[in-house]
């Protein structure tokens, strides 16, 4: 049972390489910021309109940003064929995927943490009262994006046109996350905020289903 120790060591490596350069995080944050700003000046929404379209916009921006950010998670390993070194070293290849998806979830959450206050200011939405519920929704949604995205980036890294291919594979698969996360967030942005338990439950089910699928089939994604 060295799955979790291995995954932990690998997670440490992912975080160390990212925080050394912070390239990925800064670029992603700037990207989402630009998208939000563009939307804001294009539609100039009033506070009520923002409550309606804001959540969808926010999740779309996260989804697009993730589809760009996740490109790198396996390309990085191709450069010096470090993926082979990892496969030779770990006893369960799932550890590699687990570490990557944990790192990706963390990176997504960090960008969201940074962007939420800016969004709240730009779009005139008050989030202070519901921040813990938002955290839960953002966590479940980002976890789902990372699970599916990590698996698919392992696929797209082995194909041609990979930059374009990843969103093509990823976005349709993630429609459920987009729809449900948006609805849950919308309810929390309401003038009288409320928690959509059904939606939260759905996100959890989505995460469990795909985590199981990744656990069952993940090792084949890394085969040579």
């Amino acid at each position: 049972m060295s799955l979790f120790p291995n995954a932990l060591v690998l997670l440490g490596k992912e975080l160390r390489t990212e925080f050394r350069s912070r390239e990925l995080l800064t670029t992603t944050v700037v990207f989402i910021l630009i998208v939000m700003f563009m939307f804001s000046i294009t539609f100039q929404p009033t506070s009520d309109e923002s409550r309606q379209i804001g959540p969808g916009l926010l999740w779309l921006a996260f989804l697009f940003a993730a589809s760009l950010m996740l490109q790198h998670c396996f390309l990085r390993e191709q450069h010096n064929d470090t993926l082979s070194a990892l496969r030779l070293s770990v006893s369960d290849p799932f550890a590699i995927l687990l570490a990557k998806l944990a790192a990706n979830t963390l990176f997504l959450l960090l960008t969201e943490l940074f962007l939420l206050p800016i969004f709240a200011l730009m779009y005139n939405v008050s989030v202070v009262r519901v921040v813990h519920w938002l955290a839960l929704a953002f966590f479940l949604g980002s976890l789902g994006i990372s699970i599916v995205g990590t698996a698919l980036s392992a696929i797209s890294a082995q194909a041609r046109m990979r930059e374009l291919l990843l969103p093509v594979l990823m976005l349709p698969l993630l429609t459920p996350i987009l729809i449900v996360s948006t609805e849950v967030t919308k309810a929390l942005f309401d003038r009288a905020p409320y928690v959509r338990w059904q939606g939260i439950g759905f996100l959890a089910v989505f995460d469990v289903v795909f985590l199981t699928a990744l656990w069952l089939f993940g090792e084949y994604l890394l085969e040579e």
Partner: protein, 225 residues
Amino acid sequence: MMKNILAAAAVFLLLGVAVYASFFIAPTDVKQGLIYRILFLHVPSAWTGLTAFFISFLANLLYVWRRQPRWDWLGVSAAEVGLAFTTVVLVTGPIWAHPVWGIWWTWSPRLTSTFVLWLLYVAYVVLRTLIEEPDRRALLSALFGIFAFIDVPLVFGSIRWWRDQHPQPVVMGEPGAGLDPIMYKVLLFSWLAMLALMTLLIRQRYRLEAMRGDLETMQQELEVA
């Protein structure tokens, strides 16, 4: 060869009977008139498409497990045939919707789910064109096919859940629910005919893929020799 022609003839006979039944046996709908008859093409196509995707899913699982090229061939054949039937659903939907609802397209849950389903399998086909090496293409597309099929109930579920909060003005009832018993029988018979067509198409597509695989092998053997 002879067998193929006979099989094809049988399938077209079945389809012919289904068409005849849809136009002349099923009674005309009181409210919608003639246009409702497109239902006998639309609904069985949707069911048949899903059946084909399910076959593709099973073939994908078998490929990952056994690694025999034939499961790859079956996987891609069934997925493409499923895609064709789903395309029929997406085309016949608006043809029916325009006179009945007054609009060509609406983001009703059923249409939206079908559209996402269609996109998933388009992505599967696109993925296959972008990987050169046959074994890798087979394995990675099989894995994507598995993820895509697992996603289908989640897509339908999420869109339905979403719809509950935003009711659409006109939504078609559950298929078969309010149907006249004769209509229902015709519908089932049409589905049967479509399944026969699906089997025929998958079989032909599979043979093509098998020949392509053999050809690839022969070409590369020649290059080595």
